[in-house]
Symmetry: C2
Subunit: 569 residues, 2 copies
């Protein structure tokens, strides 16, 4: 591509609308533009990167024997009523009426549509297993669309659905997709980790997330450096590595703690370590029953675990007003002693001597509280988030933490959709059975954001070779070299996506743009070529520069690409 004929509106300044690195760079590199909140145009460069990801996904899905289909974005309410999700899904499901007043929605996911398709056209176990997938736009009416493509409302997703005759079949399909996802993200040239995860709104028993590792990731992953255990902290068991030194119980004492609400403030005020100051949080279960959760000051309540402990009932944190009304004191001064409600304490409080609790009276705490002495909880359970230094639940090694961005999620669904939709097939034994399903998603446009979060520096994007929209950029300083640059451009273009910057711009502008848009290799006809007849090749990722005669430069570029391809596989 000749840059003079390309549409590449790069920006020198960070746009004010963007907070995250990837959002800023996608805008600055002229890859996307906002149309409305969470709705974007893909410009030619952005689309080219997106298509590279799509093609890797497609290739690996096809290799796994999955079959590509295309399902509509506009879906009739009838199907969603069958599974009950029409009412259950919440406001992310954008509902509307057509001109004939029939109810429709924009598909945030396609379990209903695909189950309907399969129940009509797959009748026999002989047609199984079947994995269908699509790469298509989806719409989720997020309450807070943000971070560009990271949490957009309209976005591109690869969603796949497996149909098996039994659970052993599902296990095989799931394993096949697990391996396929590993191949996909490797082929993209990304550093990533597959972790066990919470099943959330899609449902089912087992699920894994695929996380692109990046310091800016919103998700935290607990990883065991020894046995390879990896789980989202949303579900990772919290097993403390700390053994409490036994202490004699000291007498409990109510102390005046004016204007100190946070555990940190209380700790400072009392001159005690943060962990000694326990926090008691009030939740409202099913909009009626208050429940108190008690954790150490240096721990956080894990609401995914809490949901399990509460038997899956809906719950929410009580408002300040509710706490005041129910307990008679403000949040910050709440404690388990004398509370007239169910009290659940985290298991890290077992054998924890002489800790601090709120006194259920404003401006007061108790010091020297002890479990089963000061108060008796209704339940001791794992309700906190794991922290770095906790023990691996599989091998007992100390866990380390990583930050990640979820780009893929795979689920075992079982009969969650096939049963309510009466999607059945005739099995070997002559009986009608519901399909055993799995579903497998990749946020294709999100992969682009995650790639940039993982691969960038102060000058811009550093695309991994497989995703890079252009692999090579050619710049010529002097009109004299233009013809030679042009010849190399023609030769390389036949083999790899090559950009030649033939604009009437200063070299500085051209270098800045090539750096910004993350072209892996820059071939420069400049000073070195004038002086030595060797072109300069800059490797974007390392900043390394190589000087080679033209013919060798051509070979270098092509073999660099092959090497990158191999490494990523």
């Amino acid at each position: 591509m000749r840059l003079s004929r390309y549409f590449l509106p790069t920006l020198r300044e960070d746009p004010s609308e963007a907070e995250t690195v990837s959002h800023k760079l996608l805008l600055r590199a002229g890859m996307i533009r906002k149309v409305a909140s969470g709705v974007y145009n893909f410009l030619p460069l952005g689309l080219k990167a997106l298509k590279n990801i799509e093609n890797i996904v497609r290739q690996e899905m096809n290799r796994a024997g999955a079959l590509e289909v295309l399902l509509p974005l506009v879906q009739p309410a009838e199907l969603w009523l069958e599974t009950g999700r029409w009412n259950a899904y919440g406001k992310e499901l954008l509902r509307f009426k057509d001109r004939k007043e029939h109810d429709f929605c924009l598909g945030p996911t396609h379990e209903e549509v695909i189950t309907d398709l399969v129940r009509r056209d797959v009748k026999s176990y002989r047609q199984l297993p079947l994995i269908l997938y699509q790469i298509a736009p989806k719409f989720r009416d997020e309450i807070r669309p943000r971070f560009g493509l990271m949490r957009a409302r309209e976005f591109i997703m690869k969603d796949a659905y497996s149909f098996d005759a039994d659970y052993e079949g599902l296990d095989k399909s799931y394993q096949l997709m697990y391996e396929t996802y590993n191949r996909i993200f490797s082929a993209c040239g990304l550093k990533f980790k597959a972790v066990r995860a919470h099943t959330g709104a899609i449902g089912g028993d087992v699920s894994h997330e695929f996380m692109v590792l990046a310091e800016t990731g919103e998700d935290t992953i607990a990883v065991c450096p020894k046995c390879g255990f990896a789980e989202n902290v949303e579900i990772a068991p919290a097993i403390s590595s700390e053994v409490y030194e036994p202490e004699p119980y000291r007498p409990i004492e109510k102390v005046y703690t004016p204007n100190v609400r946070s555990a940190k403030d209380v700790a400072d005020y009392l001159g005690l370590p943060l962990k000694k100051i326990t926090k008691t949080l009030i939740y409202i279960v099913e909009e009626k029953e208050p429940v108190a959760i008690c954790v150490r000051g240096d721990h956080e309540v894990n609401e995914v675990k809490l949901e399990k402990v509460l038997g899956g009932k809906p719950f929410r944190m009580a408002t300040e007003e509710e706490v005041l009304k129910i307990v008679g004191a403000h949040p910050g001064f709440i404690g388990p002693k004398g509370l007239k409600m169910k009290v659940i304490v985290d298991r890290s409080l077992v054998n924890f001597p002489n800790f601090v609790i709120g006194a259920n009276k404003d401006e007061y705490h108790y010091v020297n509280a002890n479990l089963n002495d000061t108060f008796v909880p209704d339940l001791v359970a794992d309700v906190r988030k794991a922290v770095e230094g906790d023990l691996c639940p599989e091998c007992g090694e100390l866990l380390t933490f990583m930050k990640g961005i979820e780009v893929g999620h795979i689920f075992k669904l079982g009969t969650k959709y096939s049963e309510p939709m009466k999607a059945t097939f005739l099995d070997k034994d002559g009986t009608e059975k519901p399909f055993i399903m799995g579903c497998y998603g990749i946020g294709v446009s999100r992969v682009l954001s995650a790639t940039i979060e993982q691969n960038h520096d102060e000058n811009g994007i550093i695309f991994p070779w497989p995703i890079a929209p252009f692999k090579v950029g050619i710049i010529s300083f002097k009109p004299d070299f233009q013809e030679k640059a042009e010849k190399l451009y023609q030769e390389l273009s036949e083999r790899v996506d090559t950009l030649i910057d033939d604009r009437d711009e200063r070299p500085g502008v051209k270098f800045k743009d090539l750096d910004l848009i993350g072209v892996p290799l820059q071939v420069i006809y400049g000073k070195s070529f004038e002086e030595t007849g060797k072109v300069e090749i800059k490797i974007r990722r390392t900043g390394e520069r190589v000087y080679l005669p033209e013919e060798e430069a051509r070979t270098f570029v092509l073999s660099f690409g092959e090497k990158q391809g191999e490494e990523s596989l």
Copy 2:
């Protein structure tokens, strides 16, 4: 692809939901399934054909220097308010509110979004010309979705938009797209015709439609066999080749014509040729003014021409009740004599002697009416549809008619969108000027339907090679030959999309399915192979059979494909 692992639910019977050939065959061949009225799933075979069309479109658009983008389906009302189309577009524009009660619509077309993108990021004439395109889903809330993919609500479209500094630039971009469209439909292997057409709701001055020729087409094209003139009958000038023999005016006479309302019935009743019985139709202009249009009995009023004659004012045909109230007689008995409204007659009535008109009294007509004698019209104009045998307006040859399906439409828009949206650039002379735009659409999913309308027989689809999802199908009759069939399958699969029917089915079922899904070449390991060692190759389109040794068969298949590719370019 092994058919045993493919998802190809073919049907033996015509589904009741389908009326047209392509709709029936798309369903029977397991290519699409209905989700809701005008909303379809593409199954693997259908998507594969669709992708073949998409790729041809993409290749030719890229060759023309157009740049691919991806614009959102969900569009904010603000942009549509700027051009006035938010209110003007009618109910095909599906409008809805998001969770924050902001107005959005589903994009039926993308002029607003693309103009907004370009006005923000293209500032100078140096960045022009620019042609951007996308291949993406669109939604139009059709009042009567029908004929499967032919008139669907959610469908796949290629839409392109050109931006030029002046009208000469637009002419060049338009010409480039005109040629590109010719290349695209040739490359698809389709018989088609580019015709001048009405600009309709998109607007602008000049437009051409690309019609796939098919007897079942809804559009009629007037074609000159001599000079190549081709226009949609919607706009083709009607120049009669008939020279009226002069006759003396006979005295006008009111005759009793009971129960004969249609021109045909009146002609039979009076024993006169159909053309002698003129029809007078009442239209209501701007919901207030009635206007009478008078044409020969064998002609039809052309409402596109009428719109021009009426100065672009909105109009509609009067209801039976309105006619009765205004004229005092029922439709069928209306005539221009004594009518108290504007009367427009088609120019074919000039010098037309002694014709019949309604008497504006139920059950009565006048015979022997003559223009400017019996009545004086307000206007004589070309308001009828051209008919076969009319004269070519360019060279005077007799026109012939063809039936076609519109699959592409290109428009010169000028400043229709750039002016109201204030989309300007800085021109050479230092002044701000609005972009001069063109727009260019291809109904990609409709091309699939049109292909089938043009290419089928009683056994199913006959895909042109470039669009065929599978180019070759291999069938082996006997288990003994399976290994050889398998070997050929492996070899061919490396070069062309090949299907092997390895299902446990009777040969008859396999032949029927290969015929139905339109595979161009069928390679059969059957009787001839057993007896002579030669495989049988059946050419789907001609039914021709060739018998060749295996190695030659392989060469035959590959060179057949190359030949097809050449022919279509």
